[in-house]
Symmetry: C2
C-alpha cells in the first residue's frame, strides 16, 4: 500500500490506554510514534508500561517533549474523565496540529455542561484544521449513539429508556472496588458524600446528546445520586465475598425532562451477581422499539473497539469538536486502518495522506 | 420559524408513497408542493389518491408537467424496486436540481450490481449539487446499516449473520399474496421460476454495503432462490387459511464470501404463524455481539420512518450518490423537520434555506 502509515501518539498509558495500545499493535497501517504520560509509566519503555513482555523501543515521555516535536496525525488520548482535567491536555494537542480521539467521558458530549469551553475547543480545532472526538463504549456508544440510531426507524418518538445491566463480578477488580462492592450501606453512603464513589460518569452527557440529536429542547436534566444495590445472598466475586446486607454494586440514573414529562431515562446498573446482563433500548413512539444486546457488552473491550474504529472516521471528518452523532455510522475497521481513509477532509488535513 | 418550509415533490403515490405522504402531513416545516405518478392515481386529487377522505388541492400529475417547472428542494421517490426502471426517473429529478430520497431497493447500495450507472448518477448529482439516497427499512436499515453500526464496538470482525424473522400474517394482504401464502409447493416453485415470486429485493445490496463499510473485498456474493416454508398445521390468516402442506411463506438468503469462507449471511424469513418475530444481528469477532429487536420491526411503518428521517440528512449532506453508511447516524426527526437542517451543505445547495 503506498499510503504511508497513520502516525499515532498515545497520550496516557494507564489501564485503558494500555488496552488500546495493545489492540493497536494488532492493527496494520498505523505506527505508534510516541507515548506520553505524566504518572507512573514515565521513563519506562512502552512495552513494559502496557504490560507486554517485550520492549517496543519507545520511552514514555512527558507531553512537552513530544507534542509539536514529533510529527503525527492523531492522538489517542486516555487520561481522565473530567474536562476540567483534560482541557489543557487537549488544547496542547490541538495547537500541535493533532487530531484527537479521547476516552474523556465528559468530552463525549461537552456542549451541555461546558458550552463555552466546547465552543472554544471547536474554534481552536477548526483554526488548526483538526478534528476532536470524545468517545468510548459509554458514553459514546451504548447509552447515546445506539439509542439515537434506533430512533432512526421511528416516525415520532415519545420517550426513550436505556438500560445497561452488568454483572460487575466479571469485570476488572479495580472497577469492582470503585463501585463499592462489599461495603456496608453506611460506608457506601459516606463514600458517595465524599465523592469517592461517583457512579458512572457520562450519563448527563448521554442524555444531552440524545436530546440534541432528536432536536429536543429539554427543560431539565437530572442525575440522581448512585444508589447501592444490597446483596440478599452471599455472592462470591474475584474481589471479595459479598455478604447478605452488604453492597453488591450500584445503580446510576439520569433523566431528561421536557416541561414536566420524563422523556429520556438512562439506567446504569452494575452489581455482583446480576442474573441477566444486557444493554437495552426501549422507545415509545411510532413505532415502539425494544432492543437488547443479549449478554451485554464488555465495557473495556468495547471502549477499545469504539476508540480504534473512530480513528479513520476522525481523520475523514471536517475539522472541529465533533460528537458521535455527527460522524457517519460507527463500523469496525479492517486489519489495515488505511483502508478506511478517504479523500475529502483527510486530504485537506494534509498529513494523513502525505507519504 | 423564519426558515421557509422544505418543499417536497412526491414521485409515486402507490401503496408506499401514500403511507409516506400521510406521515409527512403529520410533520411541520415541510410543504408537499406537487405529486406525480404515471399510473392509476394520475389526475386524482392527492388526498383521494392516498386514501384520505379530504382533498388536498393538489392534482397528481405526470412527471414532465412538474419536474423543473415547480421549485422544490427534494423528491420523495417511491415507484419501483429495480434501478433499471427507476434510473430515468432519478436522472430527470437530478437534472431538475432536486435532492432525492428513494425507496428503490436497488438504489440502497447500487455500486455492486451497477458500478457504471452508480458512478454516472454520482457524477450527475455532483454536477447539479444535489444528494441522492436510496433507503427504507430493508434494505437501508435493518440488514445493512444496523449490522454495520453494531460492528462499531468490535476490535475485529470474523463474520456477521443477520436474521429478519417476520410473521407475514400480520402484514398487508398484497404482501402475503406476494410471498406465496397458501400456494401448493409446486405452484410456488412455478412462480419462482417465472419470477412472479422474487423473494426479498435488496439482500445482495445489503451484503455489498456491509462489506464496503468494513473494507472487506468479497470474492463472491451469492443469493439463493427463495425457499418455501411449508405449514405443518392449519394457519388462519386475514388473507387465506393455510392448510398443512401448503406454503406459509418463504425464506430468502444471501451470502458473502471472502476466499471460500462465508463471512456475511443474511436470512430473510417471512411466513404466517412465525412464533418469535425479531430482527437479529449476530457478530463473531472481538467481541461477539448478539442483538435482537424483540417483536421485530413493522416494515411499512419502518420504511416511512427511515425515509422521512433521511430528508434532513440528505439536505445537510455533500452532493453525490450516497448510501446510509455515508451519512451521520440515523435519528428520528422532531415534528418540525427544519430543526434538523444545518448550515454547511444545506446552505451551499441554496434552496433549502432561502426564504
Amino acid at each position: 500500500m503506498d499510503v504511508r502509515e497513520i502516525r499515532i501518539i498515545l497520550y496516557g498509558v494507564g489501564a485503558m490506554g494500555s488496552l488500546i495500545a495493545k489492540a493497536l499493535l494488532e492493527k496494520e497501517g498505523i505506527e505508534i510514534v510516541a507515548a506520553v504520560d505524566i504518572g507512573k509509566p514515565l521513563g519506562k519503555d512502552l512495552g513494559e508500561a502496557i504490560g507486554l513482555d517485550r520492549k517496543l523501543g519507545l520511552e514514555v515521555m512527558e507531553p512537552e517533549r513530544v507534542l509539536s516535536r514529533i510529527e503525527a496525525d492523531l492522538v489517542v488520548h486516555a487520561t481522565a474523565s473530567y474536562l476540567r482535567i483534560t482541557y489543557p491536555q487537549l488544547r496542547a494537542c490541538i495547537e500541535s496540529g493533532l487530531n484527537i480521539v479521547s476516552t474523556c467521558e465528559e468530552l463525549a458530549y461537552p456542549y451541555y455542561k461546558y458550552p463555552g469551553l466546547s465552543m472554544e475547543l471547536d474554534g481552536l480545532a477548526k483554526k488548526h484544521c483538526v478534528t476532536v472526538l470524545g468517545s468510548g463504549i459509554n458514553p459514546g456508544y451504548l447509552m447515546d449513539t445506539l439509542p439515537i440510531f434506533m430512533t432512526g426507524l421511528c416516525q415520532s418518538v415519545q420517550s426513550i429508556r436505556v438500560v445497561r445491566m452488568m454483572d460487575s463480578s466479571k469485570r476488572r477488580i479495580p472497577y469492582q472496588a470503585k463501585i463499592g462492592t462489599g461495603l456496608s450501606p453506611e460506608e457506601f453512603q459516606r463514600r458517595i458524600e465524599e465523592k469517592a464513589i461517583t457512579g458512572h460518569v457520562g450519563l448527563v452527557e448521554s442524555v444531552a446528546m440524545i436530546a440534541a440529536a432528536l432536536g429536543w429542547r429539554l427543560t431539565n436534566i437530572r442525575e440522581l445520586p448512585p444508589e447501592p444495590i444490597i446483596a440478599h445472598r452471599e455472592i462470591p466475586t474475584p474481589y471479595v465475598v459479598v455478604k447478605p446486607g452488604q453492597v453488591a454494586g450500584l445503580k446510576s440514573v439520569a433523566k431528561g425532562f421536557m416541561d414536566n414529562e420524563e422523556v429520556i431515562t438512562l439506567e446504569f446498573i452494575s452489581y455482583a451477581g446480576a442474573e441477566e446482563e444486557y444493554d437495552g433500548v426501549f422507545i415509545k413512539g411510532i413505532q415502539n422499539v425494544e432492543m437488547k444486546i443479549l449478554g451485554g457488552v464488555h465495557g473495556d473491550l468495547g471502549t477499545v473497539g469504539v476508540i480504534i474504529n473512530s480513528i479513520p472516521k476522525v481523520l475523514n471528518a471536517p475539522p472541529g469538536l465533533l460528537t458521535m452523532k455527527d460522524l457517519p455510522i460507527p463500523s469496525a475497521t479492517p486489519k489495515d486502518l488505511r483502508l478506511c481513509l478517504r479523500g475529502d477532509w483527510a486530504e485537506a488535513k494534509g498529513r494523513a495522506f502525505k507519504a
